[in-house]
């Protein structure tokens, strides 16, 4: 019985911890020479981009730490609090002053999207990676929205 009790205690008192990688080789784009990778640490990106036009904070309903949304004129960048600091949660285009690595931006034509990412049906095209997803939204023949979102585990 003592052995059983000891065994149970050993199992329940043993700790476990997870770690996030420092760098993420994943989906993103380059804006004016700054590489923005979804789920990568946000600090170097924010520093390189300079002061945002606006920054709003969204507290969670119950936990400490805030998601933040930075506005840089042509795009919005969102971050989330991770154990090791802010990380990039997503990005979406506000105008055609920014483009994906494949050259797709607001106002691009459907044909250009298909050339860049392959054929698709409906009003949106989604490219999924391990860490993030890219969604291009169209109305008729023209792109009206582009967003990158982290795929959070």
């Amino acid at each position: 019985m003592k052995c059983l009790l000891c065994l149970i205690l050993c199992v329940i008192l043993s700790g476990c911890a997870g770690e996030q990688p420092d760098t993420v080789q994943g989906m993103g784009l380059t804006y004016q020479g700054t590489r923005i990778t979804i789920q990568a640490p946000a600090a170097p990106v924010l520093e390189a981009l300079g002061e945002a036009k606006t920054c709003t904070q969204e507290p969670s309903c119950a936990f400490e730490g805030m998601d933040k949304t930075y506005f840089y004129g042509s795009f919005y960048l969102t971050t989330y609090p991770a154990q090791d600091g802010e990380r990039i949660l997503g990005l979406w285009f506000a105008d055609d002053g920014i483009a994906t690595d494949e050259g797709i931006t607001i106002g691009s034509r459907r044909e250009e999207v298909e050339q860049a990412y392959g054929a698709f049906t409906g009003d949106s095209c989604q490219i999924s990676g391990e860490e993030a997803a890219l969604t291009v939204m169209l109305e008729g023949d023209a792109v009206t929205g582009v967003r990158y979102d982290a795929c959070l585990e």
Binding site: M1, T56, P59, C61
Partner: protein, 348 residues
């Protein structure tokens, strides 16, 4: 006999250890203590709210009582999903049959457990709602509906049956709170309302990324339809609301889907965003976090306005003439007013 006694002792020790290791949600994250508070008061409510923070932060049952004589309870919790709300409603009906159940429809945008956020955050929110529920078949179903596919694979359900399996590594983080609240909890809400007294004006509009698809998912519809059927079967009026907070965004495409559903099901749906002027919400004064939630002053305005709907359109009775119930409320009101006054003093 000796072996039996040793076995019983072993089980008692494990139970004690589990009670010690589970988070108490008293000095931080009080949201985790809300769901369990209902059981001591269950049995005689006329209105039950379910939903996420848009109910437990935005409606004050104290105001509903003071202004309209409505005896209400809010079974809300942070990021409460529609399947959790459904099973909370189902469980509530085991304790009482209110006149009206109010459901805040924002969570319709989360169709699956995976869609509600990162694994760690989602699990923490699940805990806040599910660990507070008493054991019942409804809880069992709520847990199953809340698990992600990944959690199902590693039999995450066992951690809800035996929370010690989840919280075993908290032993290094134990504080005085874990001992103080080993066998009891303080009350953190006023009939499910978590009071926030701060003021943090909305200085800039919050923005939300556009979506490729605004259609609510099948699973969300499944539970909303079940909710309507559950209430119908028990003779309870289901009222759908969209709480009056501005962020996260409530898209017009979502609004029209809920309007259509309410029309088809013959349900009352009130989008309080459309009545902000009538409510008198001042976004410079009535929010504690720049417009995501209302503070107590905003919640009182929203409750005053919505109480009239409940009374006039749903026929919820004014019970202020009942001596025993009034006496119970008087105690709650005194405590509520004391907390409000103390907060006001602190800010002056």
């Amino acid at each position: 006999m000796k072996k039996l006694a040793a076995g019983a002792l072993c089980l008692a020790l494990l139970w004690l250890l589990q009670a010690l290791l589970m988070p108490k949600y008293m000095t931080s994250t009080p949201e985790g203590a809300m769901i369990r508070e209902y059981y001591d008061s269950a049995g005689d409510h006329n209105v039950i709210f379910t939903g996420d923070c848009e109910v437990y932060e935005n409606f004050s049952p104290v105001t509903l009582w003071e202004e309209h004589g409505i005896n209400a309870w809010i079974r809300g919790s942070p990021q409460q999903t529609i399947w959790q709300s459904y099973y909370l409603m189902e469980e509530t009906l085991e304790y009482e049959t209110p006149d009206v159940m109010v459901y805040n429809v924002f969570a319709m945008c989360y169709d699956t457990p995976e869609s509600t956020g990162s694994q760690s955050r989602r699990e923490a929110y699940n805990r806040i709602t599910l660990d507070g529920m008493k054991w019942s078949f409804s809880k069992w179903k709520a847990v199953q509906a809340s698990l992600t596919e990944e959690e199902k694979q590693w039999e995450g359900i066992l951690t809800y049956l035996f929370p010690i399996l989840r919280f075993h590594d908290r032993w290094a983080q134990l504080t005085k709170e874990d001992v103080t609240y080993l066998f009891h909890r303080d009350t953190v809400t006023y009939n499910g309302y978590l009071m926030q007294t701060g003021v943090k004006p909305m200085t800039e509009a919050h923005v939300t990324a556009p979506r490729a698809d605004y259609t609510f998912g099948e699973n969300s519809w499944y539970y909303l339809e079940k909710m309507a059927a559950l209430c119908r079967d028990h003779g309870v009026q289901l009222v759908l609301i969209k709480s009056p907070t501005l962020y996260p965004a409530w898209w017009p495409e979502w609004e029209s889907q809920i309007e259509d559903f309410a029309r088809e099901q013959n349900l009352l749906y009130v989008n309080m965003l459309e009545y902000q002027q009538e409510l008198g919400i001042d976004w410079n004064q009535d929010t504690y976090d720049t417009g995501l939630h209302l503070n107590v002053y905003g919640a009182e305005k929203a409750s005053r306005w919505f109480g009239r709907i409940l009374a006039e359109e749903c026929g919820v009775p004014d019970r202020r003439g009942e001596k025993e119930l009034s006496a119970q409320w008087e105690q709650t009101i005194q405590q509520y007013q004391r907390q409000k006054a103390e907060a006001k003093e602190e800010t002056q």
